[in-house]
């Protein structure tokens, strides 16, 4: 029985209570007006009402109540019929039987209707035929009674039919409702599964793309290095082709990742303020070199006034414009690529930015244009072979533009050229009366100049100071090298807490902060939140450096108040470009930097001079690429690695045995990151397993893993040891450079000692010995050294202070607050 029917019965049963009780005064009135027997009539009605009410209260709308109601509803007209006997209204009282029978359909129960019909017929048969016949022979009229019974039967049949139809309808509705609910549940489950699948696919793609990027980086890096080597023209040509193929592959991976994310609905637009003119100029700057190589010029025409500031997703806008510009350069043959900018449909809040990119390229037929914005489609298949590309660029552009509420189209004539036009509505930013919109007359045909190429640090920003926050020593070393070479000064902090302290103490010194996200003590998110309480995003830009390319990670960083996000491994060109961008936006351009370290230029073509040709298991070529081709830096990193992690297996074993799993996890995490950077993949893999085991408290297999780690680590340590004497030999054999070499050795030993002290490692004493040896301390001086005494009493903080107090001049040559 469907819930709707039960609900109807409930309502009808309640209605009958009122209805039957309402008959009590009616019967009394009828009795009084006909025979004067008001009381007996009222008592009869009351008795019937009480019987029904009791059944209703006891059994609700159960069958017993329904059946009783059928009899009671026939009793009421029977009493009225008797009261009106021999009165003109007697015949009308018969109609009341039919009315009551019709009312019984409210139960939607066949048995109730049948019972009503039987009761009516029996009443007529006995009272209106049998009884008269019994009293006066010949007075009963059987034919008329039978006629009445037949009418009652017909009415009952109709009511049963209607009731059946209603029941069927409700049953059908109930079934449909259940099916809809079941379908809805199934749909919801499938939606969840699909979302989960999409999420997994997205993560998989992000991970795969990350994994693919690593070898592609190696290809690009080596080919870049090889191009600087003395090669025959033929070899040079081949290397350039390798580099070109690598670049294409990288673009393909990025396009596939983008397209896949967009298809999965993962394209999430941001809304941030930006400068339209600056954005356009930046994209033109990126393709200007390529255009000039092909003999093409680029010109920008502003046909209307342009808002000073817009609000929208600048990154996606840049992506679309760059794609169109790249296509124009790729397919253009002669003349100038013309970029036309116009802003229409101005309202108080929005403006439609329409940009057209015109080239004098190969053009397209109408049929080719029709399939141009479809994924994996270029004008024709020969285009791909001749010009390269994935055919995804325009499809991605269309996805982006349409999601931003705009459109993109192409007009083209074969062999004459093409005009790609897109429109995106943006929100206008109210910049106040002091900053009106830019007049187009102030920007006539503005070409982007050479010095706006973003990967070159703007001379105006040289010697600005950047705070690099990263818990990984190797990453700090790399960052210092990259930024130093770019002409910036760097200070370092090993976690968010230290960074907050440094910014709190002298925040005005920094032009920007590069912030790692995952760090011990205080992570990058919390540190940014803390810094933002004092320093706004305009005053002090913070750029996140994370190992993940997930949008979620990026959004988390931006939500915390960071200005930008760059994924690791760091692309130096991108990093400098973004720094240029943020420096240009800020007012912090001429800040004195008294605490900064001196920038050491790279060795250039002497990159391999201070390194052996082979240092297995280190992959020196790849590692060198990751250190921006700085062999001195790489050498230092390898030595540092050997000193820091020589005791890693025993340290991990001790920590796990002591139940200090969090500390063990941190050590394994650190080892994993450094080993990966130094191309020790087997060490990194085992360290990752150990990190996972320590994090998830599954230490059953750690002994085997530690043994495997030691086995993987030993060759690296041995290789590093072969490197160290060479350092000393080279340094000491170079006269004045020898002083520098000895100082380097002291620095190395001291850095290693500081690190083990911070990790509270029991190898601190051993590290102190190395440090003392590097300083040339005799036995007595070593014994009297306050740092050694503090180490002996296991007071590592005191040892650090003692180390700093006793040799302040040798504290790391860059200002490195690592604790």
């Amino acid at each position: 029985m469907s819930p709707q029917i039960l609900q109807l019965r409930e309502g009808f049963g309640r209605l009958l209570c009122w209805l039957i009780w309402a008959h009590v005064p009616l019967l009394a009135f009828a009795g009084w007006t006909t025979t004067g027997a008001a009381l007996p009539a009222a008592l009869a009605g009351t008795l019937l009402a009480m019987i029904y009410h009791a059944s209703w209260l006891l059994y609700g709308h159960a069958a017993v109540t329904r059946n009783l109601s059928a009899i009671i509803m026939m009793c009421l007209p029977a009493i009225l019929l008797m009261l009106f006997a021999r009165k003109p209204w007697q015949m009308d009282m018969h109609m009341y039987f039919f009315a009551m029978m019709a009312l019984s359909i409210g139960w939607f129960d066949r048995a109730t209707i049948v019972l009503s019909a039987i009761a009516t017929s029996l009443h007529h048969l006995i009272l209106l035929y049998v009884l008269p016949l019994a009293v006066f022979p010949g007075e009963g009229n059987l034919a008329r009674v039978l006629l009445h019974a037949a009418i009652v039967a017909f009415q009952a049949a109709v009511l049963i039919w209607v009731s059946g139809k209603v029941l069927q309808a409700f049953e059908r509705i109930h079934r449909m409702s259940e099916e809809i609910v079941a379908t809805s549940v199934a749909l919801k489950e499938r939606t969840l599964e699909a979302e989960e699948s999409t999420r997994v696919k997205s993560i998989f793609l992000a991970n795969v793309s990350h994994e693919i990027r690593t070898p592609i980086n190696a290809i690009l890096g080596f080919s870049h290095i090889l191009q600087r080597a003395p090669l025959t023209p033929e070899q040079m040509n081949q290397v350039r082709k390798i580099h070109g193929a690598g670049s294409t592959l990288l673009r393909l991976i990025n396009d596939l990742l983008d397209f896949s994310k967009n298809e999965a609905g993962k394209l999430i637009l941001e809304r941030r303020e930006f400068d339209l003119v600056e954005a356009i100029d930046n994209q033109i700057a990126l393709v200007r070199d390529s255009a000039e190589e092909r003999g093409l010029g680029i010109e920008v025409n502003y046909l209307t006034n342009v808002p000073d500031r817009l609000s929208g997703d600048q990154m996606r806008f840049d992506q679309v414009l760059l794609n169109l510009l790249s296509n124009a350069v790729k397919f253009g043959r002669t003349g100038t690529i013309v970029v036309t900018v116009r802003c229409d449909e101005w309202t108080d809040d929005t403006v439609s930015v329409q940009i057209a990119v015109r080239d004098n390229g190969i053009g397209m037929s109408a049929e080719e244009q029709s399939r141009l914005f479809t994924a994996f489609s270029q004008a024709d298949s020969s285009t791909t072979r001749q010009y390269g590309g994935t055919g995804l660029g325009l499809a991605i552009s269309r996805q982006i533009v349409e999601q931003m509420g705009g459109w993109i189209r192409v007009e083209s004539i074969a062999d004459l050229g093409s005009v790609f036009t897109f429109m995106i509505p943006f929100e206008r930013v109210d910049t106040g009366a002091s900053a009106p919109m830019r007049d187009k007359a102030a920007m006539p045909g503005r070409p982007a100049s050479k010095n706006e190429i973003v990967h070159v640090i703007d001379p105006r920003f040289r010697d600005l100071c950047v705070l690099l926050v990263d818990d990984n020593e190797i990453n700090r070393e790399i960052g210092v090298g990259l930024l130093g070479n770019a002409g910036l000064l760097v200070e370092c902090a090993a976690n968010g807490r230290v960074a907050c302290d440094m910014v709190g103490h002298s925040g005005q010194r920094y032009a920007a902060i590069l912030m790692d996200v995952q760090m011990p003590e205080m992570d990058g998110i919390d540190a940014t939140t803390e810094i933002r309480k004092v320093w706004s995003a305009d005053q002090l830009p913070i750029i996140a450096l994370t190992a993940h390319t997930f949008d979620e990670e990026r959004r988390r960083c931006l939500a915390a108040g960071m200005n930008d996000h760059i994924a690791k491994p760091i692309d130096p060109k991108l990093l400098i470009a973004r720094l240029n961008h943020w420096f240009q936006r800020g007012a912090r351009k001429t800040i004195p930097q008294p605490m900064s370290h001196n920038v050491v230029p790279l060795a250039g073509d002497d990159a391999f001079v201070t390194l052996p040709a082979d240092l297995a298991p280190f992959d020196l070529g790849l590692a060198l690429d990751r250190t921006n081709g700085n062999p001195a830096l790489l050498r230092r990193l390898i030595a540092s690695f050997a000193q820091t992690y020589a005791s890693a297996p025993s340290d991990l074993s001790r920590l796990i045995s002591a139940g200090e799993l969090a500390e063990a996890s941190r050590l394994a995490h650190s080892l994993k990151g450094v080993a990966a950077t130094l191309t020790l993949s087997s060490v990194a893999d085992v360290a990752a397993l150990l990190e996972r085991a320590a994090t998830s408290d599954e230490t059953g297999e750690t002994d085997n893993l530690i043994a495997a780690l030691a086995e993987a680590l030993d060759p690296a340590l041995a290789a590093a040891q072969t490197l160290e004497p060479t350092v000393r030999t080279i340094n000491t054999s170079q006269g004045a450079g020898g002083v520098r070499g000895e100082q380097d050795a002291v620095d190395l030993a001291r850095d290693a000692l500081v690190r083990v002290l911070r990790r509270r490692s029991l190898t601190a004493e051993q590290a102190f010995d190395a440090y003392a040896h590097a300083l040339g301390l005799d036995a007595q001086a070593r014994q009297d050294h306050p740092a050694l005494q503090a180490i002996a009493s296991r007071d590592f903080d005191l040892a650090l202070e003692a180390l700093n107090l006793s040799h302040p001049g040798t504290f790391p040559k860059r200002r490195d607050k690592s604790a």
Partner: protein
């Protein structure tokens, strides 16, 4: 079902009793004679008391009589009738007309 059937039986029974017991006699009587009195004697008595015989019942010693005399029943009992019952008018479904003799 049983309570409903019980109520039906009681209801119809009550209606039958109420119908038969109604004191709205219109001068029609059922007369049942004693065993010691023959039909002719009773018929004479009916006529003597201002009434008339309208028929006989399906059982012996019974007859239907009509009379406008107010003391008809009492007089008949005095003349040897065992029971004299002033009959109600049972109009059936359509007895909307008052029956008068």
């Amino acid at each position: 079902m049983l309570p409903a059937i019980l109520l039906l039986v009681i209801g119809i029974g009550s209606l039958v009793i109420a119908t038969v017991a109604r004191a709205d006699a219109r001068g029609r009587y059922l007369v049942v004679m004693r065993d010691s009195v023959d039909a002719a004697t009773v018929m004479d008595a009916v006529y003597q008391h201002g009434g008339g015989v309208t028929g006989f019942t399906w059982f012996s010693r019974g007859l239907y009589a009509v009379s406008d005399a107010p003391d008809f029943a009492m007089s008949m009992r005095a003349s040897g009738a065992w029971m004299v019952w002033a009959l109600p008018n049972i109009p059936g479904c359509f007895g909307t007309v008052e029956v008068r003799s």
